[in-house]
Amino acid sequence: MREKNSKKKTVTYEKWGYVFILPFFASFFIFSFLPLLDTVRYSFYEYYRSGLKEIGPNFIGLKNYIELLATDLPKYAANTFILWVIGFVPQIVISLLLASWFVDARLKIRAKQFFKVVIYLPNLIMAAAFSMLFFTLFSDTGPVNSFLVNQGITAEPIRFMATVGGTRGLIGLMNFLMWFGNTTIMLMAAIMGVSPSLFEAAEIDGCNPTQIFFKITLPLIRPILAYTMITSMIGGLQMFDVPQVLTGGSGNPDRTSMTLIMYLNNHLASKNYGMAGALSVYLFLVSAILCFIVYKMMNVDDPDGSKAAAKKQKKLAKKEARG
């Protein structure tokens, strides 16, 4: 390409590519990268506000990091993980089911497009608004409770937000509702990527639909499944608006729905930049590890996509070369 250009002396447009991406990099550098460095720097300082007076910044080394680990950080990490699992498990199950139904040629579901839009809709609502809606719906005197009482299903209103299970369940339900459409569409794309001849062959060989699902569909979309899980995990790590709004920032009952980012937000509310910085660094490390896994997964060039398979293949190749 280049040789051709230099020979013909035509105008190159290469530099324009860089010019076009420059605004993004410039704004990223100024508005994201520099503050990021500052965050890391402040995490080694004692720096907060007491009333209208600023305390610090005083260098205190790793004290913030140690203090965070000594206090409740592990508990909030566990909360975040539990809340993510409660939302993710039903999400992936329902999505798989819907996706395999939608792409199944034999079922001939009508108005597929319509359903796809409908299941995606909850994702369009702002998380905070969605959470507010649920807060009102499930409040002690809300519509759900008055329905339950009027129908005689319960004698007393159920106080959803006063129990651990109720609060966590609601948060999980909201996350499920908001994201299962998105996942369904992604998994549909994955299933459609599988060669139809495989399904046909399986059918001819006498597989029933369950066997097809477990023996053909699932193994072949495993890379996408793993990708979905990891991205969802990264999203779950940043879970904030839904529990924050639902519990009014308190993470009640007994701080069992306090997520890591809500904890971070508590420190920011009291302008405790040092502690918040240290917490952010922890979060960054975890996210970075997860991202690294995704990156590795996407860049392994074997059909299966999993690392284990890649290793196996390498070993096999070595053996063959030797033998």
Partner: protein, 492 residues
């Protein structure tokens, strides 16, 4: 054509991504409540977020005329507050008000100055956080963006009137004399005075606490709705509990929620919440915890939390709650609205089992204001002018207990004054005795956070989710999170 469509779609997708980013950024921590006062029960706080900032950007139409008319004074008067209480007093009673904008975000005055209202609800420290930011940036802000007046609540007034922070201008510097303030209740002056005795804010109200009860329920439970007889039946806590048991038998709740009686205990403490870097929990707070647990377990309360929907509905037409602890401002600002027209005449007030006070709002002039003359005039008119303040008390929809000793005496002894809402009761007479005795010497600048967090932490205990010690631990964690300088929490 297809390519064009594709590029359009890509562009809009990108835009959507950008907007989505904004969205999650804005969905910030502050689950704003309807924010009546500092006490908003956080567990119920997930009210509208978008209304959190009625930040007004309507620029000044009358800017030029104002500069001409007001001489050296600025054309914009910025007032910061956490609800619309002062805003509506100002719009109704400040004599120079010409017009109010449709969205109520600005008020135009006769001299051409435009008043810009910035309202940030108080829950989760939201108001203070925003106010702190703005006050710290006061020096570098443009004249028309500088805060001129900000409002303070009893729970955190001390934080802003200190000499060392010097964000509120002493009234003497503005030219308001001791004579102007002579008719105000002494406690409303003491609490906002700095170490050298200079008063730095002024209030139009005094806030003696009361117990507002529903006449119809009182009749059913006690056989009478006469305030004196009801007061006799509720004269101390053991009698109060007896009535609660009776109310329960008749199918009523004595109180609505966990935090209802909090102020009767918390404002009768012996020591401030915080001294140095130590939080001391008063035995009276523990008494509140004990009582509320007992009430909850016996079914005497409706398990709501302060300012929540349930709590508000309990004051409405279908409410089954005997009564509510309130302060005088609560009648007009909250109760009248919640009770609705149907509630007119069905309520009455008495002192309740224990005298106390609750809240109160102070007006302070921000250091660096470019409208000192106007600020002074607003303060004089709205907090020191007897006729205006009396008019507020006599207004059917306000009935506030205003900060004029002689004015309140006159209304108290006026046989014609009666509150229609309270079924013809002269509630001012009831409180003119109590108001002068209010003692706020035990406030600290940490009160809002401490009150909010202890109510929050013990909500779980009342719900039966955790034991006392866990609740205590949660309070310690929360308070240290909120105030990093706190090192120790001492329990009685």
């Amino acid at each position: 054509m297809k390519k064009k469509l594709l590029s359009m779609m890509l562009a809009s997708a990108m835009l959507a991504g950008v907007l989505a980013g904004c969205g999650s950024g804005n969905a910030d921590s502050s689950a704003a409540d309807n924010a009546g006062s500092s006490d908003a029960g956080t567990s119920a706080a997930a009210e509208t977020n978008t209304a959190a900032e009625t930040n007004t950007d309507t620029q000044t139409d009358g800017a030029d005329t104002a500069a001409a008319a007001g001489g050296a004074e600025g054309a914009v008067l910025n007032i910061w507050c956490w609800n619309d209480e002062f805003q509506s007093r100002f719009n109704d009673y400040y004599p120079d008000v010409v017009s109010v904008s449709d969205d109520k975000s600005t008020t135009s005055l006769a001299n051409g100055v435009v008043v810009k209202w910035t309202i940030n609800p108080t829950t989760d420290n939201n108001y203070q956080n925003k106010l702190d930011e703005a006050l710290m940036a006061q020096g570098s802000a443009a004249d028309d963006d500088k805060i001129d007046i900000f409002l303070l609540e009893a729970d955190y007034a001390l934080k802003y009137v200190g000499e060392d922070v010097d964000v509120a201008v002493p009234l003497s510097e503005l030219g308001i004399t001791a004579d102007d303030l002579a008719d105000q209740y002494q406690y409303t002056k003491d609490i906002v005075s700095d170490a050298s005795g200079r008063q730095r804010a002024t209030s139009w109200q005094a806030a003696p606490g009361l117990f507002a009860y529903r006449r119809s329920i009182a009749k059913d439970v006690l056989g009478t709705d006469d305030p004196d007889e009801v007061q006799a039946a509720l004269a101390d806590w053991s009698k109060f509990n007896e009535v609660a048991a009776k109310a329960k038998d008749k199918g009523y709740y004595m109180l609505s929620g966990y935090q209802d009686s909090f102020r009767t205990f918390s404002n009768n403490v012996d020591k401030p919440w915080v001294e140095g870097t130590t939080v001391t929990v008063d035995p009276n707070i523990m008494a509140w915890i004990e009582q509320t647990k007992e009430f909850t377990d016996s079914g005497y309360n409706h398990k709501s939390s302060l300012w929540s929907d349930t709590w508000a509905q309990d004051q409405g037409a279908d409410g089954k709650v005997f009564g509510f602890f309130y302060s005088t401002w609560g009648i007009n600002f909250t109760l009248v609205g919640n009770a609705g027209e149907a509630g007119f005449g069905d309520w009455a007030v008495c002192e309740g089992p224990q005298p106390y006070y609750w809240g109160g709002t102070w007006v302070a002039a921000a250091r660096g204001t470019d409208n000192p003359e106007l600020v002074k005039d607003v303060m004089i008119k709205l907090t020191c002018t007897k006729s205006i303040m009396k008019a507020m008390t006599e207004n059917r929809d306000i009935q506030d207990y205003t900060n004029t000793m002689s004015g309140m005496q006159e209304i108290a002894s006026d046989p014609n004054f009666q509150s229609e809402f309270l079924g013809g009761q002269n509630h001012i007479a009831l409180f003119s005795e109590v108001a002068p005795t209010i003692d706020m010497s035990n406030v600290s600048s940490y009160d809002q956070g401490c009150n909010e967090q202890i109510q929050n932490a013990f909500g779980d205990y009342f719900d039966g989710n955790i034991d006392v010690d866990t609740a205590k631990g949660n309070f310690e964690t929360a308070i240290k999170e909120l105030y990093p300088e706190i090192t120790e929490v001492v329990w009685p």
